[in-house]
């Protein structure tokens, strides 16, 4: 069976035969160096897919993934989430009028109130989100339309915003601060939440507006120009974005949350990856005592309806959610782990059967020559 192979004479250096070339003073031979690299004999590990490695791997992966998946699924299921659409598309919804009669020029915001009921109490910190749908914050032209240097407080960019900001770069000859389409389209609905206890009174739910942005954004990426001494002077000579009601230095009274470092603004500026997204709006801190943060019962959501979405068939939502170690509610990961684990296990069995059926054959198979 073995080939009567012809192998060139061992002309390698290990064999004494070639000594005639190495004498001192002899002309340097062209014989290639005998290094493992040049002779392609580098030591190497040659793994190979064998039944001994593949089959256990499948079973082990299956056995590990299924419990993890169950854990993830349970965790996700324990998260409480409440979502309400307040866009006002339907006639009988509370915000229908506000949505219908939206006008860019109105000075007083249209306010509407949405009633809802929480069936279960929400423990621990509760996070309040606004959600937008069909809003392409990830459109290439939109994503580019900002000037990070300006937002970082660079004076020259404040006066001379980047060209990327066009057509929201200048307004009436003045540079826009903050420039660009993203800033221009800042979400400006104001949401307030009231708890209606069984006695019928209207209790305002305290909402925290700090700590909703990334630390790095708040402290590194976004900085006000000219220090934080007096924002209105710092922003002198700039125009507000055309859709804004107020200039950027009047976003909040708190100087730590005003101008470019306003957290609502920062959260908005972190553009979403997908056309349907939610952004953190407020945090409802858990109460020091053991009462739930939001007890079950009736609530009213009051909306200062400033943000038009109907023109692009968008939707607005308000979401209340608790949080776990793995973030917000998302059953996908748990289900995926359970599925993949099961498939692995099943594949392991199938491969085992195949191996049993064919291995004897392939092992004894002679290599034809």
């Amino acid at each position: 069976m073995m080939a009567s192979s012809y192998n060139a004479k061992e002309e390698d250096g290990h064999h004494s035969g070639s000594s005639s070339h190495g004498g001192p003073g002899a002309m340097k031979s062209k014989k290639p160096d005998n290094t493992a690299f040049k002779q392609q004999r580098l030591p190497a590990w040659q793994p190979i897919l064998t039944a001994g490695t593949v089959l256990p791997a499948f079973f082990v992966i299956g056995l590990i993934f299924i419990p993890i998946g169950i854990g993830l699924f349970v965790t996700s299921n324990n998260i409480k989430e409440f979502e309400i659409d307040y866009t006002g598309v339907e006639v009988d919804t509370p915000c229908y009028n506000c949505a219908k009669n939206f006008s860019w020029n109105s000075t007083t915001p249209c306010v509407c109130a949405v009633n809802f009921t929480l069936d279960q109490p929400f423990e621990s910190n509760v996070y309040m989100y606004y959600g937008l749908s069909n809003f392409y914050q990830n459109h290439r032209r939109y994503v580019k339309s900002r000037d990070d240097s300006q937002l970082n407080g660079v004076e020259s960019n404040l006066r001379q915003p980047s060209k990327e900001c066009e057509p929201y770069r200048t307004s009436e000859g003045l540079p826009i601060a903050p420039c660009g389409a993203i800033a221009n389209s800042l979400f400006n609905d104001t949401l307030t939440l009231y708890y209606i206890p069984p006695n019928g009174t209207k209790l305002s739910v305290p909402l925290t507006k700090k700590g909703i942005a990334w630390w790095t954004d708040k402290h590194v990426k976004f900085r006000n120009p000219g220090g934080s001494a007096n924002l209105s002077t710092a922003f002198q000579g700039t125009a507000k974005p055309v859709n804004w009601r107020k200039p950027v230095y009047e976003l909040d009274e708190d100087s730590e949350n005003n101008g470019f470092i306003n957290e609502d603004f920062i959260v908005w500026m972190r553009t979403a990856a997908l056309p349907t997204f939610r952004k953190l709006y407020r945090i409802i801190q858990k109460k020091p005592n053991s009462t739930p943060t939001l007890s079950s019962g009736k609530y009213v959501l009051e909306i200062a309806y400033n943000y038009p979405v109907l023109s692009f068939d968008g939707r607005k939502r308000m979401i209340l959610s608790t949080i776990s170690w793995m973030g917000g509610k998302n059953p996908f990961l748990g289900i995926a782990y359970i599925t993949v684990g099961s498939i692995c296990f099943f594949l392991g069995v199938v491969l085992l059967i195949i191996h049993h059926k064919y291995d004897t054959r392939s092992n004894s198979a002679e290599i034809p020559n």
């Binding site: 192979s5 580098l42 190497a44 993830l72 959600g131 909703i212 498939i343």
Partner: protein
């Protein structure tokens, strides 16, 4: 562009000799592509990459020229009349091979470069990227590499062209003596005109087609070396017409010579020439013997756009890094070939080397090898090896038990120092023969006497005792040299005498008659009269022929000798049987008279002579037999056997005679006893050839359709290239075919070429003999055209240059004389046997690596791109990238480039020993299994799957969810980082799965690249770098906020497993159910140590076939050496001066 080549025939003549020639451009051969091959002395400076030249431009030009010349029915030129010849506007003799000059370089070179599709594609991309509305990436990501590639190529082209300029200058400015207005003037070759009379000295190169007018040699003979034409190093004799020869060296006579030549226009037929010379109203016909034909090295290059370049263009997702990486891999793998000590030949200190920028992955796909014979398969050395004298065999060494001892270099040689005239290069090992001859054994003595007398060798004795033989065939030279060393030294000859030294005693034999060799007679005899007055006929010839003409008394001896002959045949030696006959003086007188009559007869001369020869060559006494070895290079039969196992078909294309080629076929194991049939195609008409090819085909495959099934398909860029493929046909049994040059010329005609191809491809072995360099190239092109297979041509001489250039891969055997083949080849090494390692080890690895590289590269880039495709549905088709711009820039150049480079430089599925152990491992490459359309579809589908996983799993994991502190995670930047980390980890694991051979370098690059990714990411997203240029690094903080989340890592693990598990499962199942040969060998390689190199065994075949006879298989020089004109013309000068220093050993 001048459509001519440098001729490179070299005249050899004795010192101080000269001859007059009539230049005639009419014999210019045409070549389709207009490439020029300078003479040997110049080639060394002209080894530019003509092979990879594209040529739509030059092709048109040469087409045009071709047309013009087609109209030319014949040429008319007149000696010494420049005005007359100029009126025909024949091409001048200047040569231009260069492509550019200073002014045209930049535009032309850029034009040429952008004609390469890859370059044009990147230029297009660059333009797109410069349009702000379209560009999603910075323009310099394409511009920098493109400019780099362009300038490197331009620099290389410039240096090549400078060399060509130098080379042209050297050729054009070489001087030659031209007879102008009755005076000899030095002229430059480029100024020589058609019709000029020139004078060439000894050892000058012939740089145009010339008609021989006269020579300083007696008989107007000229000896030319035609090694560049047909690979034969022995000298060819050319003889001038008597009418012109009479002019001798007289300048006046030549100056007034006004002969007119009418001849055929330029063509590429080497062995035929037709024309007439008209002198003083008298017409003389001109044939090949009067013409110093120029070489016909054909440089037909097909500009070949390879599959890869199509792939490059067809995919809009191919970055320039692919282009650069492919070049690096090719370069790297060629360096490994250069560095291989197992392809280093210590004897002449040559290692293998690559000469051109080559596609070494094609080395792993070779389906056809076209090999030269002389100098490639054989060493071109004939050695007198064994002989059988009077029933006793000599030349074999036996030990005490009677076992044959293998003769090695260490075996003690016979000492010939007692014989002062012995050739020191002659090697013989059997001492008994010398002892016997020195003892004065009469049979042995007459055996060697025959060898010293019966031949047509010309001797040359420069100094006293320094003899050189010029033989028409190397076999003859070997025999005469053997006789010389055994004490029967052939010293000189005149037309009527032969002088030999018999054991130191000078004996002059009178040469009565030479009964010359021809192909029908297959024997040669001389009739000589010794000084004692004894007339003897000495005859040597093919055994079958001689045996019929022996005296019955020799029967016993015949039996013994037959055994010996069979033994020699089994060893692949060429044999001759020697016989002699004492002639009766009176009979001789009468025979001579009849012979004279017959040889002067006007009609039926041939037949009458034939009869006379038959009459006298009978009842001879058997003397013995000789065995000459046409020494094969080391390991040739084994290499051929291994290559055959790898399903590579080997065709031998040789300028040699049919019998020689056949012999070598047998000794190389290409022709075998057990073959069903060996077809010989030797017809002289187109119809005859067709019939022979057809009958051969019908015999091999009676069921085959009469008409070949040619499948036409379109391929290449936009399916513009039309390819025709002739399918392989199954044949039971083993067949071989021999076809000679004449038949081949017919067979290569358009209407017969398919017939030839079909028949030839059914055969295991094809040997084409007597082929011209052009035919060699035509055969290669025929196979290339209809078989769509990768071809390799291997050769050593200038006559192989054409086929080396025509084939996909050209290999030159280096270390022999002449560098033309080496310089025009892609690879060169010293020994044919290294071909096995080149193909089965390096070629296979190169192919495997290149395929792995391409598969992986396309996988990672398709995956990358498809993710963007899916994202397009979620970003309003706005061409928003999924990944960070920095990641996109660095993905191909930094993060994934080095691991795949390491893979494609170091990967081995099995090591070299196993590769040569199982030549079948080569087969997948021939079918291009690793990068076929199917493989490509598979990888595209898999990339598609991976990209779906890589987009939708992160999407689902991040969709509508938040971080563990309630803050954003579904933002664009986090998603980009998330998705790109998944992608990089998945492609890295995929790389791990594809790596079969984990060296330290692979580990370093894979883990290093991953580490680099994280390091670069953390750096670029850090506060410090953001503060420097905020707008360039907007991702600040993303990594800290994203990569610390457990569900991000859980998702990364999930995507990786989802991408990897199907691959593992699929590969495992395939390996279990249908293991490939590679899988089997890899499994075996794990369990067993690599096979030790098999010991070299002397190849001993059992063969009953009588091996060929040692003759030049064409009519000998018998006429010439006995020519009566020889005496009439000039007094016999010292004849030994006639020949130049060519020894049999050199031939």
């Amino acid at each position: 562009m001048n459509n001519r080549k440098e001729p490179y025939q070299r005249r050899k003549q004795r010192e101080g000799g000269h001859l007059h020639l009539f230049t005639s451009n009419s014999f210019l051969s045409e070549e389709p592509e207009g490439n020029i091959f300078p003479s040997p002395s110049l080639l060394c400076c002209c080894h530019t990459g003509v092979k990879v030249k594209d040529g739509i431009w030059s092709f048109l030009l040469s087409q045009l020229e071709k047309k013009e010349k087609k109209q030319e029915e014949e040429r008319l030129l007149r000696a010494n009349d420049r005005g007359f010849n100029l009126s025909f506007q024949y091409a001048n003799n200047a040569i231009r091979t260069s492509k550019y000059n200073i002014f045209t370089f930049l535009p032309l070179n850029l034009f040429e470069q952008f004609r390469r599709l890859a370059n044009a594609y990147f230029l297009f991309l660059l333009i797109l990227q410069m349009i702000p509305q379209v560009s999603s990436l910075s323009w310099f990501t394409t511009a920098v590499p493109l400019v780099l590639v362009l300038s490197i190529t331009a620099a290389k082209d410039a240096s090549d062209d400078i060399n060509r300029h130098k080379c042209d200058k050297q050729v054009n400015n070489r001087e030659v003596e031209v007879l102008i207005d009755g005076e000899l003037k030095k002229e430059k070759w480029k100024d020589v005109q058609v019709g000029d009379i020139i004078k060439l000295e000894n050892n000058e190169f012939v740089t145009a087609d010339l008609l021989l007018l006269s020579s300083s040699e007696p008989l107007n003979l000229v000896y030319v070396e035609t090694a560049e034409l047909d690979g034969e190093t022995n000298l060819k004799v050319k003889q001038a017409l008597t009418v012109t020869g009479e002019m001798g060296d007289s300048t006046e006579a030549l100056a007034t010579f006004n002969g007119e030549v009418r001849c055929e226009p330029p063509n590429n037929c080497l062995d035929k020439f037709k024309g007439t010379l008209t002198v003083n109203g008298q017409a003389y016909s001109l044939d090949n013997d009067k013409v110093l034909l120029r070489g016909c090295v054909n440089a037909s290059l097909s500009s070949f756009l390879t599959f890869w370049s199509y792939v490059i263009v067809l995919n809009t997702v191919v970055p320039i890094s692919l282009y650069v990486s492919v070049e690096i891999i090719r370069l790297g793998n060629s360096f490994f070939i250069d560095w291989d000590r197992k392809m280093y030949y210590p004897k002449n200190d040559t290692c293998s080397s690559k000469n051109h920028h080559t596609l070494n992955e094609e080395l792993g796909q070779i389906k056809y090898i076209f090999s030269d014979k002389t100098g490639t398969l054989t060493q071109n050395i004939m050695t007198f090896n064994k002989c059988s004298i009077n029933g006793k065999a000599y030349g074999e060494l036996c030990d005490f038990s009677g076992q044959r001892i293998e003769i090695t270099e260490k075996t003690p040689r016979v000492d010939f120092s007692w014989n002062q005239l012995a050739d020191p290069k002659f090697i013989f090992h059997d001492h008994s023969l010398v002892e016997t001859v020195r003892e004065g054994n009469p049979e042995v003595q007459s055996f060697f006497r025959l060898l010293a007398l019966c031949h047509t060798v010309m001797p040359e004795e420069k100094k006293d005792g320094e003899l050189f033989y010029q033989a028409q065939s190397p076999d003859e030279g070997a025999l005469v040299t053997a006789a010389r060393n055994f004490g029967f030294v052939f010293r000189s000859r005149t037309p009527e005498t032969i002088t030999i030294m018999e054991m130191g005693r000078k004996v002059v034999y009178e040469l009565v008659a030479v009964l010359d060799f021809n192909n029908v007679r297959k024997r040669m005899s001389v009739i000589v009269r010794s000084p004692e007055g004894k007339t003897t006929l000495y005859c040597k010839g093919a055994d079958t022929i001689i045996y019929e003409r022996l005296h019955p008394s020799c029967r016993d001896l015949m039996k013994v000798t037959t055994d010996h002959l069979n033994m020699y045949a089994g060893d692949g030696l060429r044999t001759l049987v020697l016989a002699s006959k004492d002639l009766d003086e009176s009979y001789m007188q009468e025979w001579r008279k009849r012979h004279n009559e017959a040889s002067t007869a006007l009609d039926g001369r041939e037949e009458r002579l034939e009869e006379l020869y038959e009459e006298i060559e009978k009842d001879m006494t058997l003397l013995g037999a000789t065995a000459v070895e046409d020494k094969l290079q080391d390991g040739v039969p084994q290499t051929i056997e291994q290559l055959a196992k790898a399903d590579i078909k080997i065709w031998v294309l040789t300028g040699d005679k049919q019998e020689t080629a056949e012999n070598i076929g047998y000794s190389c194991n290409m022709l075998r006893e057990e073959m069903n049939d060996v077809f010989i195609v030797a017809a002289n008409t187109a119809e005859g050839v067709r019939e022979e090819l057809r009958s051969a085909r019908r015999k091999m495959c009676p069921d085959a359709a009469e008409q070949p099934s040619v499948s036409t398909s379109r391929s290449g860029l936009f399916w513009l290239k039309k390819t025709q493929t002739v399918q392989d046909e199954k044949v039971d049994g083993e067949y071989a075919m021999l076809i000679n040059g004449h038949s081949l010329a017919f067979a290569l005609e358009e209407d017969l070429e398919l017939e030839l191809l079909r028949t030839a491809c059914m055969c295991q072995t094809v040997i084409c003999c007597r082929v011209t360099p052009l035919q060699k190239a035509q055969v290669v092109q025929l196979v290339k055209k209809y078989k769509q297979a990768v071809t390799l041509a291997i050769g050593d001489g200038a006559n192989d240059v054409s086929m080396i250039k025509a084939a996909h891969i050209g290999v030159g055997i280096s270390g022999q004389e002449g560098m033309q083949a080496v310089l025009s080849s892609d690879f060169s090494f010293a020994q044919f046997r290294y071909l096995q390692r080149l193909l089965l080890v390096h070629g296979r690895w190169s192919y495997l690596r290149m395929c792995k590289f391409l598969r992986y590269f396309f996988y990672k880039n398709f995956t990358f791109t498809f993710v963007h495709f899916w994202y397009a549905f979620f970003c309003g088709f706005s061409a928003q990238t999924v990944y960070d711009e920095w990641f996109i820039t660095l993905y191909n150049t930094v993060y994934t480039s080095l691991p795949v480079l390491a893979l494609s430089l170091f990967d081995q599925d099995v090591n070299d020993r196993w590769s040569s152990q199982y030549p079948q491992l080569y087969a997948p490459g021939q079918q291009n299994l690793y990068f076929s359309k199917k493989a490509f579809m598979n990888l595209t589908a898999f990339s598609c799957y991976s990209s779906l996983v890589l987009y939708f799993v992160p999407w689902a994991a991040i969709h509508d969810t938040v971080r563990d502190d309630g803050k954003d995670i579904a933002d664009y930047q986090s998603f980009a980082l998330f998705a790109q980390t998944c992608l990089l980890i998945v492609v890295s694991i995929q790389m791990c799965l594809d790596t079969y051979h984990w060296t330290a370098v692979n580990n370093l690059f894979i883990w290093g690249s991953l580490a680099t990714y994280f390091a670069v990411t953390f750096t670029m997203y850090s506060n410090g770098i953001f503060v420097i240029i905020p707008s360039a690094f907007p991702f600040v903080g993303t990594e800290r906020n994203t990569l610390n989340l457990p569900n991000v890592w859980l998702t990364i693990i999930l995507t990786s497993l989802l991408c990897i598990l199907p691959v593992v499962a699929y590969r495992f199942i395939v390996m279990q159910i249908r293991p490939t040969i590679n899988d089997k060998v890899r499994h075996r390689a794990r369990k067993e140590p690599p096979p030790a190199p098999a010991p070299r065994r002397p190849a001993r075949r059992v063969s009953t076939r009588r091996s060929g006879y040692a003759f030049a298989h064409s009519k000998g020089y018998g006429d010439l050496v006995t020519s009566q004109r020889f005496l009439m013309k000039r007094p016999v000068k010292s004849r030994v001066m006639l020949f130049s220093h060519i020894t049999p050993a050199e031939t």
